[in-house]
């Protein structure tokens, strides 16, 4: 029961849930950069939210199935064809032996997720099957897919319950994003003007963007540290700014400690959106208090719970 990778796409990796509780050993979260999108794909094919699937970046793979399979694609908006016939995202697709499934370039958002009923057969390393590319851990041989790879699927009962994601549960993809944030640990390192610029600027997502983080283009921020800061914990969603004045936002593979001032922290409710920020997209940062953030997280969980009962374990 396997899938042949005919064309790998730009950076296609096996991703599942995050690695948790190990940041003190330097082990980053890793896992799907947009965990909500992976969970939505898994929901359609009857898998648990964090069953191992494929994360597709900008340009997707072409896969040839040597087995019948049930699959679904979510996340970034990209063309999907089965034997050259266009298929919709957010719908269950029945694949027959010998079929060729091709995922094209993304138009909005960055990362699409392909779930396969049963999940991909990969072993867990440090508590997760997710690929962590910088250290070559997890996933398919610790690396992105290459042409000629074969992926094994988990066989077993396949019981997709629904054929399509209801419209109300399809996340909006855009080129103009808003992320809710709270003040970060080292906010005093920024000048008053810099702090106000952070939440009043319409930022542009820079070209240097990957799973570890992305730069934001806009006004240079005044930051004073009197030399480097002592290394301290960083997380996905931490916004840091070196003295160069160019801020960067950490992603799901973020290193666990860093030495640049941590000015803001993206709220838990919105961290999964970082995985869809595309170079050239616009970004606003909306300041909240931790109490407001807690209320907004509760509201978001409530809104999703009917479709994804485990939403609080997903985002």
């Amino acid at each position: 029961m396997s899938i042949l990778v005919e064309r790998p796409g730009l950076q296609t990796t096996v991703q599942a849930g995050p690695r948790t509780g190990l940041r003190y050993l330097g082990v980053p979260a890793s896992g799907a950069a947009d965990a909500l999108a992976l969970a939505l794909a898994n929901r359609l094919v009857g898998n648990p939210p964090f069953a191992a699937g494929l994360e597709v970046t900008f340009d997707g793979p072409t896969l040839v199935f040597d087995t019948p399979a049930t699959v679904a694609l979510t996340g970034a908006d990209c063309e999907l064809t089965l034997n050259a016939c266009t298929c919709p995202a957010h719908e269950v697709i029945r694949v027959r032996t010998g079929d060729r499934l091709a995922i094209g370039a993304s138009r909005t958002g960055v990362r699409a997720y392909l779930a396969i009923a049963g999940g991909l057969l990969v072993s867990a390393v440090l508590g997760s099957a997710s690929t962590y590319l910088p250290a070559g851990l997890g996933g398919h041989r610790g690396r992105a897919l290459a042409a000629g790879d074969t992926l094994d699927t988990v066989t077993g009962p396949r019981t997709p319950q629904d054929c399509r994601t209801p419209d109300a549960y399809r996340p909006m993809l855009t080129h103009a994003w808003a992320l809710r944030v709270c003040p970060g640990a080292d906010r005093e390192s920024a000048t008053r003007d810099a702090l106000s610029a952070l939440t009043s600027t319409n930022w542009t997502v820079g070209r240097r963007a990957d799973r570890m983080g992305l730069e934001l283009e806009g006004p240079l921020l005044g930051v004073t540290t009197g030399g480097r800061m002592p290394s301290a914990a960083t997380f996905p969603g931490t916004l840091q700014c070196p003295e160069s004045g160019v801020p960067f936002l950490l992603g799901i593979d973020a290193q666990t400690t860093g030495g640049y001032p941590r000015l803001l922290q993206v709220n838990r409710s919105d961290r999964h959106l970082i995985g869809q920020l595309r170079p050239g997209d616009r970004l606003r940062l909306l300041l909240r208090t931790p109490a407001q953030a807690a209320e907004e997280l509760r509201e978001k969980h409530e809104a999703w719970r009917r479709w994804l009962p485990d939403i609080a374990a997903i985002i």
């Binding site: 910088p134 640990a185 109490a291």
Partner: protein, 217 residues
């Protein structure tokens, strides 16, 4: 002698709190105290802080803060004196294993033999893991071996690489990007994914470097 001063806690995100401490050993000691409490999803010590993450879907910010502020300040000790056995790490210095040895030596104005003698001549101690999986910050470096970072970081440094930077030796448990000059490579496996506890080194571990081979000059 006992000082019941509350911990200095500050909010640094909607599910993150930071506690200020005096130094890396206090940070490790406080982190070890907090980690068994499953209330904390992550407990991450730094060089002068410990950051904890809690489940914001389950607990309000003020409850998380109160949980920390209830801990007495004197629960934190600096961990001094906890050493145990010394782990000997055989290192091949210079050559392909230590591509920056020759340049570091010329910057520091010493021969490779002298550098290796200084690096192997004292006991060192793992102070912190972080940055990358299993990357160990090891103190005890002779001050004469104070080297700066590489002008441009390497995309990939092999597992076992031994780097030096400032007051620390850095040990790479896994391959990854790295900005420290690399003077050698440990033969020993510092990471074994098949084990429940895959990282060989832990904070507090004393280590001694042994020169298995030295090349270049």
């Amino acid at each position: 002698m006992t000082e019941y001063q509350a911990l200095q806690v500050r909010t640094c995100g909607d599910d993150l709190l930071s506690i200020a401490v005096a130094n890396v050993r206090e940070a490790q000691s406080l982190a070890a105290l907090l980690r068994p409490d499953s209330f904390w999803l992550e407990v991450v010590p730094g060089l002068d802080s410990v950051v904890v993450q809690y489940d914001a879907a389950q607990s309000r910010p003020e409850h998380a803060r109160a949980r920390l502020e209830g801990l007495p300040r004197n629960a934190v000790d600096d961990g001094a004196g906890k050493s145990g056995t010394i782990l000997e790490i055989a290192v091949c210095y210079g050559g392909e294993d230590g591509p920056d040895l020759a340049r570091v030596c010329s910057e520091l104005g010493m021969s490779p033999t002298s550098l290796v003698a200084l690096h192997t001549g004292t006991d060192h101690r793992v102070e912190m893991l972080g940055f990358m999986p299993g990357f160990a910050y090891v103190s005890g470096l002779d001050p004469r071996l104070c080297a700066g970072r590489l002008a441009a970081p390497r995309q990939r440094v092999p597992a076992g690489a031994v780097g030096i930077n400032g007051a620390y030796t850095g040990l790479y448990a896994l391959p990854g990007p790295g900005g420290w000059p690399i003077i050698g490579r440990a033969a020993m496996r510092l990471f074994d994914g098949a084990k429940d506890d895959p990282f060989l080194l832990r904070p507090g571990q004393s280590v001694r470097f042994m020169a298995e081979c030295t090349s270049g000059g």
